[in-house]
Symmetry: C2
Subunit: 482 residues, 2 copies
């Protein structure tokens, strides 16, 4: 801790001195305070000042001369003070941007959360990493390896015809087998997470196609709905029952089908084997493409994960999407798609056009994390922990008389709850003050007037010991509201 | 070096043992060879084996028992051997992907380079980082800070309404002033590099617009042309003279203008002040939007960088794009756009829809690198080194009788060369065997039958001591070819 504090102080010093020099607040040759004097003045260790000065010497901001201490270098980087621009306000809004831009995307919000959610006491929020479960040391070790000179070419260069070959082979060897999947490297594309994969596939399948339409699950992932709408694709919502998507209700005029068979979001339902067979049969009969979003398969809390729908696909009709957002963390922006190689080739071309490729640093760090066994170990640890939290949640919910919605299922890292008569968006706002964070269910529904009495309660970010207390407080608030 | 070798061996051991356990090649309780025995057998240090075993214990693959050494854990992660799928070949190409997909993007290649270019002796290639100039230690130190527990929330979470605030403020304080630019945080969007920024802006300006058309520089950046074509935008090529884009030749029916005023690629021309004023006047008269791609401003080798075109813009008509690809490395995939806040808001929405946001790791690491002064120091060092290389190149070219193309200019990290009568694509293929890498000029031209006698010769990746030799060899090959 002390070491971290010292690094923080050293950084503040380096930042202040280097930016003052760049801003022209010192002249070349100006003498800096002695390390002893500055340390005493600031009340910090002399070594901290010395280390900051030495780093600034290495970067050419300062120079040392025998017996004269540290001085501002003649060659210090940065701009001269005189060159600094005065901020000039524009003459006025010369361009009518409202007319110039479609103004469609600024309104896309998806699921939002308060910025300060980590400081809340009862964060029943889904999809964020738990810093207490995350193996920081192992991850840092992998990052250190990825940043070594040996890997510089891979990490610093640009990928064109391939991604990081090590990551691709690690996904194939260490992650896909857990889903009963097998792939050749040319069938795998690394993406900026599942959202990016969904977008790429939607553009490839529907761009320029007459009457584009896709069936989606309702309730379902709100950002898929948005993405299809903004891509000009008609998204046809199809309801679920206990076995998953109602295959019998899929309309005839769709060309593709987006499903989450492993754990449907938000209900947690795992699609039955029978329903999976029906989907594949229907896809064959109607020449449909099926997109399987397997965003959190590794988090199956109560039993062995079901095989991927893709593992049953003998016709290469299923495009499979995996993601490291839930198993590692969403800010990593890393996922992949597994598809026939012509699809991968086109998706790679489109991804390159739009945003090139996920950075080498994140690809190679994740590759080491998989290779060293840390990844599967971490998934295992999360699953063990989530199993405990899941049971605590079930007990607390039962005690509080809060019932799961129908249809819904236990298995993922969240519960889908219906509280008849309670407007959960209003409730969520009200209980935020008490530190309780829930996710209102309305955004998951396709309807413009969605039911307001649902919520998702997740346990991936709340410590065990706060669960019972949090659910009890939620129950009290519910009682008050109904 | 020895430490690195040991880390490599330890990694191989961990990888082999953890994947064998996951694959079911050991049963729970199986005893592993003793550290002493395995070390002797493999001819490596015992400590390496011990450290690998201990890491596997920490990850739950192995357990230790007093006096019985290391055994496979009952709780080892991974799948049982029986569950491993046999790879089953698909029944056949059931889906006609050629009909199903537009097949447009797979053909996009842009500028390609041989995969083994780093092993070539004379790599006159542009745009790749030089590992001998890159400050690995400072960068790793910044990555270590970004991966600390203190920053976990920023790095692991997802950005919605903003990017990493530290990176945004560092760009504003430490990088933009060097371009005479000033920005408020809401005017800045972090992008996946300049390519991503160009794509976002093209979609925002032209999507759904009747008769979309933009003027581009010819020769110019090939991937901008591709990007516009694939976005359905008519790209009108406009030639340059010594002062830059021929403003008088910009046709009337375009709505936007893409320019590289700082160093035009591939000619290296810096746009004159008069031409800049003409562009802004024309933009005002015709209500044009100007996109300034300032991809390598920091690399001005011979003189102080010219101010950005954007710094003259009093009407907020110029959208400015910056990139860390050249100053740090392209695999980082990090850049930014500076634009009026309504544009930034829409671009953020579109970026989020397509690929969310550049990873927290790369954003925060770069933020520290800027904050600590390493960034401007690194840019300064590169500039100093490139100045030396530039003079060596000029001397060698003069001695070899190789002339710069007209119009072109000295200033960036490359030269634009015309070799009348020599087909440079054929030449490039031929001299590759001799370890000489040049970039043929044809892809930079908009014409379907581009002139074949141009090439770009860069010096950002070739060490000083190979320049004279490389140019002499190139000159000999040229003599032979003409």
């Amino acid at each position: 801790m002390d070491r971290e504090r010292r690094a923080g102080l050293q950084m503040q010093l380096q930042e202040a001195i280097s930016s003052a020099i760049e801003a022209g607040q010192f002249a070349a040759g100006d003498r800096l305070p002695s390390t002893r004097g500055l340390a005493a003045y600031l009340g910090i260790a002399r070594i901290t000042v010395t280390m900051a000065y030495q780093s600034l010497v290495a970067d050419g901001y300062l120079m040392t001369a025998p017996r004269s201490g540290y001085r501002v270098s003649q060659e210090a980087p940065g701009v001269a003070a005189a060159a600094r621009p005065e901020p000039k306000p524009p003459e006025g809004p010369a361009v009518d941007w409202a007319k110039r831009l479609p103004e469609r995307y600024g309104l896309v919000t998806g699921l939002t959360k308060p910025a300060n959610w980590r400081s809340l006491r009862y964060p029943f929020i889904y999809g964020q990493a738990d810093p207490l479960l995350f193996p920081h040391d192992a991850w840092r070790d992998c990052a250190r390896r990825a940043l070594g000179r040996r890997d510089f070419d891979v990490v610093a260069g640009d990928f064109r015809q391939s991604d990081d070959a090590m990551l691709v082979s690690q996904i194939i060897m260490r992650s896909l087998p857990g889903r009963d999947l097998y792939a050749e490297p040319q069938q795998l594309l690394v993406t900026y997470g599942a959202q990016n994969a969904l977008w790429l596939i939607a553009r490839l399948l529907f761009d320029g196609r007459p009457a584009p339409a896709a069936a989606i699950e309702d309730p379902g992932y709100p950002e898929l709905r948005e993405l299809l709408r903004l891509s000009g694709v008609r998204a046809v919502p199809v309801p679920l029952d206990e076995e998953g998507l109602r295959v019998d209700l899929i309309p005839e005029d769709v060309q593709a089908l987006f499903v989450m068979p492993s754990h449907h979001a938000p209900t947690g339902i795992t699609m039955s084997m029978r329903r999976r067979q029906e989907i594949l049969a229907l896809a064959e009969a109607r020449d449909l493409v099926v997109i399987e979003d397997d965003y959190d398969f590794e988090m199956n809390v109560l039993r062995r994960p079901s095989p991927a729908l893709k593992s049953l696909d003998r016709q290469d009709r299923v495009i499979y999407l995996g993601s490291f957002s839930k198993s590692l963390f969403p800010g990593l922006r890393l996922g992949y798609l597994l598809a026939p190689s012509p699809v991968v080739e086109e998706a790679r071309g489109l991804r390159t056009l739009v945003a090139r490729h996920p950075p080498g640093i994140t690809q190679r760090t994740t590759a080491y994390f998989l290779a060293l066994g840390h990844y599967n170990a971490h998934v295992r640890r999360m699953r063990d922990e989530f199993r405990v939290r899941c049971r605590l949640m079930l007990d607390s919910l039962a005690e509080a008389g809060i019932a799961l919605a129908k249809p819904s299922a236990v298995g993922g890292a969240s519960f889908w709850i219906e509280t008849p008569g309670v407007h959960t968006r209003q409730l969520a706002e009200r209980i935020l003050e008490a530190g309780i964070l829930i996710e209102p269910g309305a955004p998951f529904f396709a309807s413009e007037r969605p039911p307001e009495s649902f919520m998702r309660l997740a346990f991936s970010s709340i410590p065990r010991e706060r669960i019972a207390e949090g659910i009890a407080k939620l129950a009290a608030a519910l009682k008050e509201a109904s």
